[in-house]
Amino acid sequence: MRPTGTAEQTAAAPKHAVLPGGRRGRETALGRRTLLLFGGPFAVLFAAMYIAPLLYATVSSLFVVKRSGLGLAPPTRRFEPLHNFAQAFGDHDFLAGLARVGLFAVVQVPLMLGLALGLALLLDSRSARAKGFFRLGAFLPYAIPGVSAALVWSFMYSSESSPINHLLEPLGVHIPFFANGAVLWSVANIVTWSWTGYNMIIIYSALQTIPAEVLEAAKMDGASALRIAWNIKIPAVRSSLVLTTVFSIIGSAQLFNEPAVLQPISSGAISSTFTPIMSAQAAVAAGNYPYAAAQSVVLAVAVGVLSFVFFKLTSRGENA
């Protein structure tokens, strides 16, 4: 995932941004060798780990596994570039999965980032106490592997053991975590819990780069904390917000761990094609690798287009 690299760069960027101009000359002499030294291994790894699998998946999605009769002879592969894609776009379950994840992203991403931004602003505010503690605390869920987190939540949700519903019982409240309409948001809750802190840290780092003079000046001019946040801080962390949004869109498309872990206890509310990745996984389980590859390609293109459109929209706003 290329954007991950950019995340760290953005956070770290301010430190390296100001280089003394005098040293530039010497550096160009070393430039080519340095480029080879650092860029070479990267290029090789990038090609091997990123480009190659991508190409492999794309190529294999153009083939169809064909067997005959009872199917006991080894299957043959036939080049039928459109077959798997036609199947994917006619596959009700796969399309439903795409739509489900789309809905998920539209609701969960703004919610999570709003929360992350709010937390970051609170933590950044002058009156905040024990910043280190809260920063770490908010970040901790991210350190817990996704599967473990989902397992813990599956215990909280389980209709047999849910301590949440147990506590609510005296109030006569029962949350149907796995009702058809609720299950997606039960998943969203886990994802939000896991990733809000992570996004908050990125936004918080960006807040740290706002020069103190600017904030001081605004304060001297009599701007309230809210106004400072709205007119200075939020515009300053704009690029971080764009970045975390794109990560989150990609993350949503890759939704897998949480629903997969909840599936066995979901009483059928989470099917094996709940999300596109799960759907591809199910195709692999059925021995249909090319179809799984085709589904992945469709998903990758959809995410690529979405991210691109989002970038375009937000950068147009920046230029204006």
């Binding site: 005959s68 009872l70 006991l72 215990f155 979901s266 009483s267 389980a285 690798y289």
Partner: protein
Amino acid sequence: MKASRTGTVATAAVAALALALAGCSSTEGDQGSGSSKELTFWGWSPGYADAVKAFNKSHPDIKVTYQEVQPGAKGGYQKMLNAVQAGNAPCLAQVGYETLSSFAAQGALQDVHEQAEGDESDFQPAAWQSVRLGDAVYGAPVDTGPMALFYNKKVYDSLGLKPPATWSEYQEQAQKIHASDPHRYISSPYLNYDYAGLSWQTGASWFGVKGDSWKVDLASEANQKVAAYWQGLVDAGLISGAPMYDQAWYAGLGNGNIATVVGAVWQAGVIKGGVKDGAGDWAVAPMPQWKAGEKAVGNAGGSATAVLKGCESTDAAWTFAHWLSTDRTAYGDLVTKASLYPAAVALLDLPQLQGKDPYFGGQPIYDVFARAAADVTPGWTWGPIMTKTTTDLDDALGKAWAGKGTLKDALVTARTKTVAELKNQGLKVAE
């Protein structure tokens, strides 16, 4: 008894496959000499690791490395198929009979009939049939899965109930049990192969072979009879929501909230291992019948040590696979640790199969399964894309057990999707 065993797992499909394959069995040969004597074995049964240790001690010329993988349906099979695709599969893998034909259909198995020649008579004919397709032999059968009724005797005694002889009696008991405590249910939902066992008993089939075409019988009348019966229990709210093998299920078995499990012999090990606080409460009775006096039993599970495609030391692979299925000491431990029920003829008198089990209140439970093994309904056939079929079935069954949709619709859905996928892959389907 022998004759009926022969029929147990020997299925129409296998016979038909035999014909289909008669002309085209592979002629691998030279590599059988097996220069390399190191091989890897993927499995998940409790006790396999120790068996491998014992094998390595007694066979200094072969070194088997055991690697535990997820149980097949939970990811193990996928890992194996991926490894075969990638060309770095282990020589040996634990593969359930239900999945063996899917593996064969994906070209993931290696024929070892040359190595296995002469060992056939060591195994129950039915078990041997399930590792053999035509002239090809794909591994050694390890265990079979005759079914019975596990029931919580403490709960049953407290309500003055006796193990049910028929399914209608079982239904009456379900009502009494639930009436005694609203948190208490007679059973929990059954999915994929556990559900298959219920259909199997009834003489229903899921798949069949007609000429060179597959018949997909998932929604046949016999299957619908089974579905309708359990649907009745679901509709009356008599089935727990705890999914099998989930923490909630183990807890329910332990505290009496789930009073029975219709399950295969190996589930004795699952219950013993997962429900420590149920020790002494549980007992085993024969499977309830559709008509009083009948003797029909389903089968759930049973697996083979299969030889995967790409194995170079096939001699050593067969030596190990055969040893694991037939060594008295090693298998005795497997009976104790994993409640496996031997496929090898000579092991049916193992002392471990005669013992009284303190967990089951001192009952010699294998007596029940020995009788069950002889009564398994013949004629069951597994399909060529079982992973897909059971995935689709489970998606729909899960909903049905939860009261959304019906079991019958689940069967129809799974059938439709299976037929579509078979046709999509080019396989012939008889309508």
